[in-house]
Symmetry: C2
DNA sequence: ATTTGTATTTCACTTATTGAAACGCTCATT
DNA sequence: AATGAGCGTTTCAATAAGTGAAATACAAAT
């Protein structure tokens, strides 16, 4: 695809990634990181600045609002997020533990696409957009197609210490398109518990794309990134 | 800035915006929208696809995970979000209504940067990344510098019907950098109530950048986009 | 004073980008 | 069946868009 791509755009997007990874970066560091001359990087960063993707302050270049906005728009268009919403809520309600929706990313990792935190005061924490390696994680194993016959993967103290991760595949047309996972502090779970939760996760994962759901969000969700069924803000609630 | 910018990059970013706005767009529509030839748009969209910013399916081009990821990273680097966190929570706790943090965007609008929903079953709804006009909205008036002496703006049935919006400025060095706002269904509030909430919002807004806060997130927040103080996922909670 | 590093501007050069044209395919209409 | 419209894709001649080396100004450290 190298000959059907646009070098200049690739360079600019690479710089955008650097700015977002770092949070704040000087022109010189950004140029060095991207292997560009300072004047080239300056012009590309200026373009990103002029379009709102980055902004400039005394310390250097920072992400701009346009990335936040487009990222949020992109997420709200992800139909998987809305479909998995109820499943995630139910998993949290029944287990008390943090539940996640993971999808494959374009660079061979997994990505956290939706996050529901558990109800215990000591719980696992992660965030939307976070990348996770496919090796050594339960969600990663599922996304790689390595789900055993019982339908879920359990990994204790894998790439994340002190937690037990349980994941099951969301299938579409026989293909793994996402993983539902629950992550528990290991001190709070034994083998039996992991199997019990595993069966729940597998059941929920099987239901995500199976049934047409009446999942009209009735304000029960409190994620910062909403996936409203209509894009109009409104007063919502029961009509009682 | 036209002569220090990069046309090719601008075009690609414009196409990215179109894909994210629409959620799904054909090559022909994207090209038409951007005023480009089909072959130019194809190559630029291929570049965006190859870098993960968009993806392609049968219906056309969709936002890719890279935008979601960078958007989430960008948001997590926004220090205003973490600083305003407690203020937003307190506003929701004390009023029961939805509370928001708005900032100016690069294109002359306001943007919802952080969202906390109210506790009533009938409440206002909005989302991170949403754009709001500066004219006719309480947050917009505040961001435009039009805050009266009493320190807050109240707009009933402005650009959004059926709601009363109350906003106050977050100031830094005498400059308005953000707005805190509370939005209430109009049937649930009168003038006295609006003034009472207005004073609360103004007090909270004044406190956002004023005091060094011990705002270690103790898992009290349940936004989908977390701003963890460290970027390591962990088990979090009280040490009791 | 000197050195190092940063950000910015300039401009000759070249090659990266462009878009018109051609092609193949699908679908709708006559 | 034939035709037209629209889509997505490929090709390639032309040109101007993008590049980076060099120069400049500034700040900080030695």
């Amino acid at each position: 695809m190298a000959d059907t791509s646009t070098r200049t755009v690739e360079r600019a997007l690479l710089l955008l990634g650097t700015v977002c990874d770092r949070g704040s970066v000087t022109l010189a560091d950004a140029a060095r990181d991207a292997g560009l001359s300072a004047s080239t990087a300056l012009r590309l960063l200026r373009t990103l600045e002029g379009t709102g993707f980055v902004r400039r302050d005394d310390d250097g270049y920072r992400p701009g609002m346009r990335v936040v906005q487009l990222g949020a728009q992109a997420l709200s268009h992800e139909s998987l997020v809305s479909l998995a919403e109820d499943a995630l809520e139910r998993l949290v309600s029944s287990t008390g533990e943090s539940a996640y929706l993971n999808v494959p990313s374009s660079d061979g990792h997994g990505i956290y696409l939706s996050v529901r935190e558990g109800t215990h005061s000591v719980r696992h924490t992660s965030w939307v957009g976070r990348s996770i390696p496919l090796e050594g994680s339960a969600a990663g194993a599922v996304l790689s197609g390595d789900t055993p016959e019982d339908g879920f993967v359990v990994i204790s103290n894998g790439i994340e210490p002190d937690v037990t991760a349980i994941a099951a595949p969301v299938l579409s047309g026989g293909q793994v398109v996402a993983a539902l996972s629950v992550v528990v502090p290991s001190y709070r779970i034994d083998d039996d518990g992991a199997r019990r939760i595993g069966r729940q996760v597998a059941a929920e994962a099987a239901g995500v794309l199976a049934a047409p759901t009446d999942a009209a969000p009735q304000g029960t969700s409190s994620t910062g990134i909403e996936t409203p069924t209509t894009h109009e803000p409104s007063t919502t609630g029961a009509q009682s």
